[in-house]
C-alpha cells in the first residue's frame, strides 16, 4: 500500500482540514463583553421563556409580558407579597363589600401616546374576561363602569382580595383601541411599561425604550432577551458577558458566582412550597403515626446539604417569603427521631418479626410515596424521606409517575404520601391553596382534597376567612389555619425553593421578587449612572 506516498492526496487532505479550521475561525467573531453593551444603552438578559406569543390573555403568557418590562397592572406585589398601587393610585370598597372603586393614576400614557383612562382600563379588563375563562375564576362582576378616572367594579359576591386578583398578569392593561391596527399576538400588545416590543419570537425578544413611560426616564435604549433554556449554558452566557443578568441559575452553577466579585446574587425564597400530602384513609389515619412520620424527617439536612441551600427547610404550609407569621408558627413535629420511635411504639407499631419493618396486627408499616420526576428536587426529597424513615421501621415504596397523572391521583386519593411543588399564592393570598388541600371534602364539594383529612374547627376558620375583608384579621386567620394544619400533622412540609437573579456589577437596581412577575423594571440601570 503506497497511496499515501503520493503527495497529492496528502495535500488534498490537509487542504480539506485547513478549510474546516478556517471556516471555524472566520465564522467566530461574536462575544462582546457585557459591561460595554450596558454602557452603550443595551441590556441583555438571559431567561427561559415559555410563551409563544405576547398576548397576555393566552395561557399564562401574560407572565412574560410583565417579566419583560412591557405590561403593567392596576396593582403589584411588594417584597412580602403585599398588594401595592401601580396603575391605580388607590382603591376602596363599599360598605356592602360588593363595589370596588379604583382611582386610575393621572398622567399615564400607553406606549403609543394614548392616555390611560378609566374607560381604557375598563375595556382592557373586559377584554381579558372575554378572551380567557380563567379570568372568571378570580371574580365575577355584575357591572364595570368608568367615571372620570375612577373604575367601579361591582361583584356578585364579596371579593376581599380584589386588588391582588387585578395584579395577576392576566389583567395587564392594554390599549384595546390599538388592536384594530396591530396584531397583539405577533407584534406584542400596547401597554404602559418602561419598554415596548421591537421584535419577538419565542427564542429571542428585543425591547426598546417606551418614550411615553410615566415613571421617569427609562435607562436603556434596547433590551435583548435571549431564551437560554439549558441552565449550564445560561450560567456560561452570564460569565462570558453574553448577557448582563440571568434569572434562575441552577444550584450547581451558583458557586462559580458566589466567590466572584464581578457578579451579585439576589436570592430569595419563592412562593412555592414542596410538600407531601398525607392520605388519612389508610395507615396514616392514626395521628401518632403521622406525627412520627413528620418528625422522623430531617428537613434541615435535606435542604442545606442535599439541595445545597437552594431550598429553605420546610415547616409550615405558606413559605417565609410571605408575611403570614412563618417565624411565630410552632412546629409540633420538628425533627426528633427518638420521639418518632416512641410515638410509633405507643401507636402499637413494633417490629415483631425482626425484618427491620414495624408491623401491627400482621400488617407491615408500608406506605406508597407518589413522586414525579420533572422537577429535579422531588425524587431527591423522596429518597431522603425513604432513608430517614427506614431507620424508624417504615417501609416507604417510592412510586414515580408522569406529572400528568399526579393531579388525578391526588383527587382520587391513590397514595399514602403524594409530593407536590405548588405555587401557594399567585395573588398574594394563600386562601385558595389552603382551602383546596385541607378544607373538608364532603360529597365531593372540595375535590382537590382527596386525602380524607377533615377538621370541623379548621373548616370554621376557612368559612370565616372567605368573608373576612380586614387585612390584619385575614393574616391572623391564615396564621391560625396554618398552625392547626401543622398540629394535625396533615402534611409533611419539605422545603421552599429559592429563586435568584444574578447580575454583572455593571448593573444596579436588579431585584428578585417572591412573585415571579417582575424581572425587568425601570429601576435596572447601569451602575455607573
Amino acid at each position: 500500500m503506497n497511496f499515501f506516498r503520493t503527495k497529492k492526496i496528502w495535500k488534498a487532505i490537509s487542504v480539506g482540514l485547513c478549510t474546516a479550521m478556517a471556516a471555524v475561525v472566520i465564522a467566530g467573531c461574536g462575544g462582546s463583553a457585557g459591561s460595554d453593551a450596558v454602557n452603550k444603552g443595551v441590556l441583555k438578559v438571559g431567561v427561559t421563556n415559555f410563551a409563544d406569543t405576547l398576548e397576555p390573555t393566552e395561557n399564562f403568557f401574560g407572565w412574560v409580558v410583565m417579566r419583560y418590562g412591557l405590561g403593567e397592572c392596576l396593582a403589584k406585589f411588594d417584597e412580602k407579597m403585599n398588594v401595592q398601587p401601580w396603575l391605580a393610585e388607590e382603591w376602596k370598597v363599599s360598605d356592602d363589600k360588593l363595589t370596588w372603586t379604583f382611582k386610575i393614576r393621572d398622567g399615564v400614557k400607553f406606549s403609543n401616546g394614548n392616555p390611560l383612562t378609566a374607560e381604557a382600563v375598563k375595556a382592557s379588563i373586559e377584554r381579558a374576561f372575554a378572551k380567557n375563562s380563567r379570568a372568571a375564576t378570580f371574580f365575577k362582576y355584575t357591572s364595570i363602569k368608568a367615571e372620570g378616572q375612577n373604575l367601579i367594579i361591582t361583584t356578585d359576591k364579596p371579593t376581599p382580595n380584589m386588588a391582588g386578583f387585578l395584579a395577576d398578569p392576566l389583567f395587564i392593561i392594554v390599549d384595546t383601541t390599538a388592536e384594530s391596527s396591530r396584531n397583539f399576538s405577533k407584534e406584542g400588545p400596547i401597554c404602559t411599561g418602561p419598554y415596548m416590543v421591537e421584535s419577538f419570537v419565542k427564542e429571542k425578544s428585543v425591547m426598546k425604550k417606551n418614550p411615553n413611560y410615566w415613571g421617569g426616564e427609562v435607562p436603556f435604549d434596547t433590551v435583548e432577551i435571549p431564551s437560554i433554556d439549558d441552565p449550564n449554558t445560561r450560567a456560561m452566557a452570564l460569565q462570558s458577558g453574553d448577557v448582563d443578568m440571568a434569572v434562575n441559575i441552577a444550584a450547581g452553577d451558583m458557586d462559580s458566582f458566589r466567590g466572584n466579585s464581578s457578579f451579585t446574587i439576589d436570592e430569595i425564597s419563592s412562593l412555592r412550597t414542596v410538600l407531601a400530602r398525607l392520605n388519612q384513609k389508610g395507615i396514616l389515619k392514626d395521628p401518632k403515626v403521622r406525627a412520627a412520620l413528620i418528625c422522623g424527617c430531617d428537613r434541615e439536612t435535606y435542604n442545606k446539604v442535599l439541595l445545597k441551600g437552594t431550598f429553605l427547610p420546610g415547616k409550615a404550609p405558606v413559605p417565609p417569603s410571605m408575611d403570614y407569621g412563618f417565624d411565630q408558627l410552632k412546629d409540633p413535629n420538628a425533627y426528633n427521631p427518638e420521639r418518632a420511635a416512641k410515638l410509633l411504639d405507643e401507636a402499637g407499631w413494633k417490629d415483631t418479626n425482626g425484618d427491620g419493618i414495624r408491623d401491627k396486627d400482621g400488617q407491615p408499616l408500608k406506605l406508597d410515596f407518589v413522586v414525579y420526576n420533572s422537577r429535579a428536587e422531588l425524587p431527591l426529597y423522596a429518597e431522603a424521606v425513604q432513608a430517614d424513615l427506614k431507620k424508624l421501621g417504615f417501609d416507604i415504596n417510592i412510586k414515580s409517575v408522569d406529572y400528568n397523572l399526579v393531579d388525578q391521583m391526588g383527587i382520587k386519593g391513590e397514595y399514602d404520601l403524594l409530593i407536590s411543588n405548588i405555587t401557594t399564592a399567585n395573588t398574594g393570598d394563600p386562601e385558595i391553596y389552603l382551602t383546596w388541600y385541607w378544607k373538608s371534602n364532603f360529597n365531593g364539594e372540595n375535590p382537590q382534597n382527596g386525602s380524607g383529612y377533615s377538621n370541623p374547627a379548621l373548616d370554621a376558620k376557612f368559612n370565616a376567612l372567605s368573608v373576612e375583608f380586614d387585612k390584619q384579621k385575614r393574616r391572623q386567620l391564615i396564621i391560625e389555619i396554618q398552625q392547626m394544619i401543622m398540629d394535625d400533622g396533615a402534611a409533611l412540609f419539605l422545603g421552599y425553593p429559592q429563586t435568584n437573579i444574578i447580575f454583572n456589577n455593571a448593573l444596579s437596581g436588579v431585584k428578585m421578587f417572591p412573585s415571579d412577575y417582575y424581572w425587568i423594571t425601570s429601576l435596572i440601570k447601569p451602575a455607573s449612572k
Binding site: F4, A20, E55, D402, S420
Partner: protein, 311 residues
C-alpha cells in the same frame, strides 16, 4: 410515470397510517393537555375552568370525531392550532424550520470534511499508526454524549477563548459553528469508520488488483475507481442522517439555544399538545419519504446499471 404515481399513493397511505397511529398513541398515553395547559404554573384551577377549556379545544368529542376533524383540516391545508403556543401549527413548524435546515446542511458539510479524508486515510493506512489514531478518535467521539461535547466546546470556544457567542437564540453565522461542530464530531465518529470499511471493501476487489497490474498510479485508482464505487453505500447513510437532522436535535438545540424544531417537538409531547405532535410527525414522515425517494433516484443516476435492472 406509473412508478411515480405508485410511489405517491404509497406515500399517502403511509402518511394516513402514521398520523392515525400517532393520534391513537397520544390518546392512549396518560395525561391530559388541559391540565398541562392550566397547570404550567402549578397553580390551583377550578373544575369548571378545566371543563370549559376542554370544550374550547374540542377535546370532549369522541376520539374518531377528533381524528376525522383533524384529518379533514389537514386536507384543506389547515393543521390546526397548537394548544400551548396558541398559534397555527404550520407557523410553529415554519419558525423552527430555517434553524433546523441550516443546522442540518452545515453539519453534513462538516461531517464530510472531517470523515471522508480521515476515513480514507485510515483505510489506506490500515493497521498502522494513522489508522489507530482515527479509530481511537472515533471511539472517543461515539462514546461521549453529544450534549457533553457541546458543553465542552461552549466552555473552551465560547467562555475561555471568546471566539463564539454562547447565547445566540437566533439563527446567525457565528452561532451555527459550535452546534454544527458538536453534531459533526459525534456523527463523523461513526462516519469515519463507515468510510474506512467501505473503502477497504472496495480495495479488496479484483478490479483494483487489475488496475495495479495495468500500472495505474495509486492516486488514480483511489480517486477514479475506488471512490465512485464507495459512494453508493455512503449516500444511503447520508440520507438517513439528513432525515435524522431534519427531525431536529433537541439536546443540541437546548444546549446552544438554537431555534429548531427538535426542542419544539419535545415540549409538544410533554405538554400533550396533540395538534403540534401530529404536525411534527407528519413533517418527519414526509422528510424521510422525500429523502428516500431522492436517495433511490440518485442511485440510478450514479450507477446506471441499476436503471437497467429496474427495467
Amino acid at each position: 410515470m406509473k412508478r411515480i404515481i405508485g410511489r405517491l399513493m404509497q406515500m399517502l397511505g403511509t402518511l394516513i397510517g402514521v398520523s392515525f397511529l400517532t393520534f391513537c398513541l397520544t390518546w392512549l398515553a396518560p395525561g391530559d393537555p388541559v391540565s398541562m395547559l392550566l397547570e404550567t404554573a402549578d397553580t390551583v384551577v377550578s373544575a369548571e375552568l378545566v371543563e370549559q377549556t376542554r370544550h374550547d379545544l374540542g377535546l370532549d368529542q369522541p376520539f374518531l370525531v377528533q381524528y376525522v376533524n383533524w384529518a379533514g383540516g389537514v386536507l384543506h391545508g389547515d393543521m390546526g392550532m397548537s394548544y400551548s403556543a396558541k398559534k397555527p401549527v404550520v407557523d410553529k413548524l415554519l419558525e423552527g424550520f430555517a434553524g433546523t435546515l441550516l443546522l442540518a446542511v452545515v453539519t453534513i458539510i462538516f461531517v464530510l470534511i472531517i470523515s471522508l479524508p480521515l476515513g480514507i486515510w485510515s483505510a489506506v493506512k490500515r493497521n498502522k499508526l494513522p489508522d489507530y489514531i482515527v479509530r481511537g478518535l472515533s471511539f472517543i467521539g461515539v462514546s461521549m454524549p453529544s450534549f457533553w461535547i457541546g458543553l465542552l466546546l461552549l466552555y473552551f470556544f465560547g467562555l475561555k477563548l471568546r471566539l463564539f457567542p454562547i447565547a445566540q437564540s437566533e439563527v446567525t453565522a457565528a452561532g451555527i459553528v459550535l452546534p454544527a461542530l458538536t453534531l459533526a464530531i459525534y456523527m463523523s465518529s461513526k462516519y469515519m469508520r463507515q468510510v474506512r470499511t467501505v473503502i477497504l471493501e472496495e480495495l479488496n476487489h479484483d478490479y483494483v488488483v487489475g488496475a495495479r497490474a495495468r500500472g495505474l498510479s495509486e492516486t488514480t485508482i483511489l480517486w477514479k475507481h475506488v471512490l465512485p464505487n464507495a459512494i453508493l453505500p455512503l449516500i444511503t447513510l447520508l440520507g438517513m442522517s439528513i432525515g435524522w437532522l431534519l427531525g431536529g436535535v433537541a439536546v443540541i438545540e437546548m444546549v446552544f439555544s438554537w431555534p429548531g424544531i427538535g426542542n419544539m417537538a419535545v415540549r409538544a409531547i410533554s405538554m400533550r399538545d396533540y395538534p403540534l405532535i401530529e404536525g411534527f410527525v407528519l413533517w418527519i414522515a414526509i422528510v424521510y419519504m422525500v429523502i428516500n425517494l431522492l436517495v433511490d433516484m440518485s442511485y440510478s443516476w450514479l450507477d446506471p446499471r441499476l436503471k437497467k435492472e429496474a427495467r
